[in-house]
């Protein structure tokens, strides 16, 4: 690990000023992803500004919705009764991710900012434009089974690993930030970038811009998160899907659907959403929506399996959200979110 300066700050203003004045400075909160990448030699900040002591640790009612402080742990957010009951997709996404220990450590502000799990990004001996701009992309001609179907570029085909981000995108959460130029609000679907020719920039955040809270807007529909992975538990998604569904009598008022692990950001499938609106929910409708969602998928050499897997997952997520098919476990738990996995093997009490 490269040497760095460590600074603990008591106010957000101090933290922002400290990072802003050092081009190689960065914030650290839970550290679960950052410390790992520093150990791997992938990241080498010259300054770590510790924001874990800042007063962003409350979950509060806000404009008919819920405001989650950026310093709230993933565990605390996932197990909050407010979130579990009103936004089960958020609890499901959190609890189907990582391990108990990591969820205890990881912050809500940090989770959406974790870096890609592309193995070439994580190996400093490999070419990676995200890690080292201009060095090339070893994944494009390499083993790219976990890589993107949508929005990739000739410079980068990495996907975003956060489960939480997928749920937040479907719920149109808003991110509150404080930057060198003051506070601003970012619609969650606009937080992450497509790689283009600058894949080293994961998000639209400016250098020194700190997430202070995540706001879940008022929502009275149903939400759900579903995830396929290589192991029963404690694995990143191969494909995932978050649904936020509002009914209008017997027809769908509004459906929002985001796919995970298929792009460098949670992939909102707006064509499918438009197709669902105003319709009576049925399996054929959901299948047509899933076909529309994956119509412009561009598979690489090893990840075409994600297309049928993703289509089926999206259909199932819509069926389960709508109640046409039962959840695999209690709403708001890892079991509801897991395909195959633990939930498929064991009876879960309801």
């Amino acid at each position: 690990m490269h040497p760095f300066q460590y600074q603990r700050t008591e106010t957000a203003d101090q933290a922002v000023a400290a990072v802003a004045q050092d081009p190689a400075g960065t914030f650290i909160a839970g550290g679960t992803s950052h410390v790992d990448l520093m150990k791997e030699g992938v990241l080498h900040p010259s300054l770590l500004v510790d924001v874990s002591g800042l007063p962003f640790k409350q979950i509060t009612a806000h404009e008919g919705g819920v405001r989650i402080g950026a310093g709230v742990s993933n565990t605390a957010a996932a197990t909050s009764a407010d979130i579990r009951q009103r936004y089960p997709a958020v609890s499901e996404a959190l609890l189907a991710g990582a391990s108990t220990q990591i969820r205890n450590m990881a912050s809500m502000g940090g989770n959406p900012l974790q870096r890609t799990r592309c193995p070439y990004f994580r190996d400093p001996t490999q070419a990676c434009n995200k890690r080292e701009p201009g060095s090339g992309c070893a994944a494009i001609g390499g083993y790219n089974h976990v890589h993107a179907l949508f929005g990739a570029s000739a410079a980068c085909v990495a996907t975003h690993p956060s489960d939480l981000a997928v749920a937040l995108s479907a719920l149109d959460a808003r991110v509150q930030t404080l930057g060198p130029d003051g506070p601003r609000t970012i619609a969650f679907p606009d937080l992450h970038r497509l790689p283009g020719d600058q894949p080293h920039r994961d998000t639209v955040l400016a250098h020194g811009e700190l997430i202070t809270s995540i706001d879940l807007p008022a929502f009275s529909g149903r939400s759900h998160y579903l995830k396929v992975r290589e192991r029963a538990s404690y694995a990143y998604a191969l494909v995932s899907c978050a649904v936020a569904l509002e009914m209008n009598g017997s027809t769908i008022g509004r459906a929002r659907v985001a796919l995970g692990a298929v792009a460098s950001k949670p992939w909102r499938v707006t064509a499918a959403e438009a197709l669902l609106a105003g319709q009576v929910p049925t399996e054929p409708l959901f299948r047509a929506a899933a076909d529309a969602a994956f119509a412009d998928a561009r598979p690489l050499e090893h990840n075409a399996y994600k297309i049928p897997m993703g289509r089926n997952l999206m259909v199932r997520a819509l069926l389960e959200t709508n109640g046409l098919q039962p959840l695999q476990g209690p709403a708001g738990t890892a079991f509801a979110a897991s395909v195959g996995g633990v939930a498929g093997q064991f009876a879960v009490p309801r």
Binding site: P124, F346, V348
Partner: protein, 343 residues
């Protein structure tokens, strides 16, 4: 059994013969200067960050690169917990010895607690190889040169030691002097870190890079917390931070200040085992035992967590999925947890 108190070899002493990790005898290296390095970690040239340090030392050494081959077959470092370290009187310590072509210690350093070895020290040691031998000894032609073996050994030694962020504890007078000297030499600074562990406060002087896991094991010798993967994937290093399970390998020690840290050493009350420890014994919930401290810390945190959902075996399995057991004692671990739950 009576044990001799270990005596650290001093400058001018003849090094005892011993077997090196590659099987060769130190005696057989007479005629060449040799640098021996003791450190707790193995040198792994496939690690990029180690290679980078290696490259830096190589470049500082000018034409050294000409005879250097990173694919060399002789990568090894000396385990500071091994018998060799005991023979040299530096068991458990990071240390560097420079032997001349006669096997006499010409220079040595025991790396001060809280301090990494700095490249300058290593380069100075290498320079010393070129200095005239003590007048009482004759120098043979090969003595002044720098063999590939020496260079490689020295480089890996330096790298291994450099990688080790600060060690130990207690700012005793010696350490403070060493720290002051290091700081005035323009070294990267260590920080005063106060950790509350198992109810006791410990004052350490640490490089900010030091993970809580390493501070526990290397500085405080609380070796019950295990280093498995060191990357947050196995759970062997699990401790409690303010009563919740956390991975000490991904926690910077400096960031654990102000938290109540509990390690496996703090779980039993004196000789009275924690109920889960007793249940692990009854249920034979381990084979090799390496993951056990982490399993125990993860499970005890869950058992006291009111929000954790542990109503069924599947829920316990899910909640414990961050703790791997290569011996696959999972059914027994589960049975032990359920027994304590029912009690």
């Amino acid at each position: 059994m009576r044990q001799e108190a270990p005596v650290t070899l001093q400058t001018g002493d003849l090094a005892p013969d011993c077997v090196l990790p590659d099987g060769s005898r130190l005696l057989a290296l007479r005629g060449h200067p040799v640098i021996l390095a003791f450190a707790p970690e193995a040198w792994d040239p496939t690690r990029a960050y180690q290679s980078e340090l290696f490259a830096r030392l190589t470049s500082e050494f000018g034409n050294g690169a000409a005879f250097l081959d990173t694919a060399a077959e002789e990568w090894h470092s000396l385990d500071c917990h091994g018998t060799l370290a005991a023979q040299f009187g530096v068991a458990g310590q990071r240390a560097l010895f420079l032997l001349d072509e006669h096997g006499v210690v010409r220079w040595k350093t025991v790396v001060a607690p809280g301090q990494p070895l700095r490249p300058g020290q290593v380069l100075a040691a290498l320079e010393a190889l070129h200095a005239p031998a003590p007048a009482t000894r004759e120098t043979d032609a090969s003595g002044g040169g720098l063999s590939r073996r020496t260079f490689v050994t020295a480089t890996l030694a330096a790298s291994a030691l450099l990688l080790l962020p600060g060690c130990t504890v207690s700012a005793d007078a010696d350490n403070q002097r060493a720290d002051a000297a290091a700081d005035s030499a323009g070294g990267d600074s260590t920080l005063a870190v106060s950790l509350r562990i198992n109810g006791q406060t410990h004052q350490l002087q640490l490089d900010p890079r030091v993970a809580l896991l390493d501070a526990l094991r290397e500085n405080l010798h609380l070796t019950g917390t295990k280093k498995g993967c060191d990357h947050g994937q196995c759970g062997a290093c699990t401790v409690h931070l303010d009563g919740q399970s956390a991975l000490s390998c991904l926690t910077l020690a400096v960031m654990a200040q102000g938290k109540e840290i509990t390690t496996i050493e703090g779980l039993a009350k004196g000789e009275e085992l924690h109920p889960l420890q007793a249940a692990f014994l009854r249920h034979d919930a381990f084979q090799c035992g390496y993951c056990t401290p982490g399993q125990l810390m993860a499970a005890t945190a869950l058992l006291q967590d009111q929000t954790a959902q542990l109503g069924s075996a599947v829920e316990i399995r899910e909640a414990m999925s961050g703790n791997l057991c290569r011996c696959a004692a999972y059914p027994n671990i589960l049975a032990a947890i359920q027994e304590v739950q029912r009690a």
